[in-house]
Every structure is written in structure tokens, then in C-alpha cells.
Point group: C2
DNA sequence: AATGAAAGGTCGGCAAC
DNA sequence: GTTGCCGACCTTTCATT
């Protein structure tokens, strides 16, 4: 059970603030519409519940010389786990680390200035274990915005094995 | 050649605005330190050069019921390319699309409420071509922040084949 | 390019309904 | 949740260095 469920008004505020975090409560209220004190109260509530975690300026990495983005799947050798043996400052090129289920232990998102730079980076990361590189050429679509959770569509099964036995998988 | 190269003062401003996009020019100037009009002028310049692309509130997807994140590598069948045959509104769960070099054509980042929901989604996406799923368990590290480009470290070669022939690879 | 001062506008918080 | 008010702060302009 979730601690707080945003209602439609909250989502309207979240939409505005995700589109432009510098809007005043007044201006947000004007657009909803809602009075400024109410906007302020709701925003504080959303912050207090950890739904809004912060406000940030969006900087285009390509415009500051970081043109190459890649993902690196990493299967750490035992005792050489990147998370346990490396410091974030050693790898400023790493912008995200995900822990994975499955064959690989870690997925890294990295950003570098050039292929030459990437070559050096992948060599350094490779000291932790075997890697698999996914090179991004372009990112035609990225929604920064979090929207209301869409209703899950049912599995379109046709699966002949579905429920043929006793068990069914429902959490 | 880049159109505009942020100097140290610009980077200080970028740091502050990435950490809190709602700071006033006054407050930023107080921290740098720099006068408010100068801050305002630099911010406008950074916006005009496309270095600052916007300001957004950060919303925690997990707190609004979107707890599952995954990456899906997709190799589109010809004529069924996701980018060309699907609409963003059909797939609200897709939050990023990357075009790739290599074996797969596309990398999708998706966010859903549950495994059951993910099951249905991957089935729908699978209609476009073969997929490979990377399931994220947790994300222990993510720097939203863009920092000054670190100097590339030279490849630490030991490679016995390096420059053994005539050509060298430099762009 | 940065500073400082001045002016006008706007904002955010509080209290009352 | 709304309205109204007040003090404070902010942004902008301009002259100066």
C-alpha cells in the first residue's frame, strides 16, 4: 500500500512542475486552476511524501562535449566488484549503475567525449570483469516526465500452457 | 567546434541549478559568489546556447506505483520497426528509446507497475521483433548531474598490436 | 564583463472565512 | 480551499568601473 496517492489535481501540479520547475505557485495555480496557497500546500505534501525528490536544471551533455553515450553490461569477477572496489570519482564517466537479475550483475550507463575516450574507459572497466557494450547512436525519444501509472493490459494469451496445471502466478 | 564553452563560473552556476532548479538568481549569486544581474545574464546565455534545456521537478516513479524498471534490446523485423509503426501513446511504459550500433537496432527503457504488467508489455513489444530483457533490481547510483568533461585517460596499452602496422586510429 | 543602487513587480506566508 | 493583506525578496534596468 502506498503512503500517498496523488489525485488529479496533484498530477496537474506534477505535470506543470516537471515541464518547468521554476514556475511560481501563483503561475501554477493560474494554470490548474487553483489558488496559490493550495498549490503550495500540495507541493509541500508531495515533497514530504518523497514523490517530488528535487528540482533540477536539465543540461545537454552533447553541448558540453560529452557526445558519446553507451551502456555496459558487466559481470563482475568475485572480489573485483565495481561497486565494492571502485570509487565514484575514479569513474566520473559513469552516470548510472543498475544492479541486475540474470547473467550480468551490473548495467552501467556511461557518457564520454569521444570514441578514443570510450576505448580507455572500457579497458579500465574491463578490469572488473567481462563486459558487453551497447553503443548508443542517438536517442530519438526520452520522456523525462513521470505520468500517472497506466492500467496494465492483460496478457493476450493464446498461450496453450496457461493454467493447464494447478498453479497460477499472481502476486 | 563548440559554439560556447562554459567557463568555471558557468559551471558553478550549472552545479547550483542542477542541484536546485528553484534557486533565485540572488541566492545563486550569494553562493558563487557573483552579483545577481551577472548570474541572470549567464543563465540566459546558457539557455540560449542550448546548454540548459529546461528545468524539471524530479518525481520518484516508485512512489507513484511504478516500481519495475527494465531495459529491452530489440531487433526490429523489417516493416515492423517500433519507431515507424508504433505511437508513443500506445506505449506509455516506454520512457526512452535509443538507436543502436550493432546487433540490435533499438534499446528501450521501460517502467511499469509490476511484473504482471511487464509480462504483458514485453509480449506486445515482442510483436515488433526479437527482444532481450535486462531486469533492473535496484539503482544504487545515478548522477543526474552533468559535470565538466573529464580529461580522457590514455589507453593503458600493453597491446602488442598497437601501431605494429602503418595506420593509427585517430579521428 | 561585473558591480551597485534603485524601482517596480511578484512572491510566499499567514490569518480569517 | 479561497481570499486578502503585508512584508520580503526578487528581477530588471542603468550608470559606473
Amino acid at each position: 500500500m502506498r503512503s500517498y496517492e496523488p489525485d488529479e489535481t496533484d498530477w496537474a501540479i506534477l505535470r506543470e512542475l516537471q515541464a518547468d520547475a521554476r514556475l511560481s505557485y501563483n503561475e501554477i495555480g493560474r494554470r490548474i486552476p487553483l489558488s496559490a496557497p493550495s498549490v503550495a500546500e500540495r507541493v509541500r505534501r508531495l515533497e514530504a511524501h518523497g514523490i517530488i525528490t528535487g528540482y533540477s536544471a536539465d543540461v545537454d551533455p552533447a553541448r558540453v562535449g560529452q557526445e558519446v553515450t553507451a551502456y555496459i553490461h558487466l559481470r563482475c569477477d568475485s572480489g573485483r566488484c565495481l561497486l565494492k572496489t571502485a570509487d565514484p570519482d575514479e569513474y566520473p564517466e559513469i552516470v548510472e549503475i543498475h544492479k541486475l537479475a540474470g547473467r550480468h550483475c551490473t548495467l552501467l550507463r556511461v557518457r564520454v567525449a569521444s570514441m578514443a575516450h570510450f576505448e580507455g574507459l572500457s579497458e579500465r572497466i574491463g578490469t572488473h570483469g567481462p563486459i558487453e557494450t551497447t553503443m548508443v547512436m542517438s536517442t530519438p525519444f526520452a520522456r523525462g516526465e513521470v505520468r500517472p501509472t497506466p492500467p496494465p493490459r492483460p496478457v493476450t494469451t493464446g498461450d496453450r500452457w496457461w493454467n493447464a496445471g494447478e498453479a497460477s502466478e499472481q502476486g
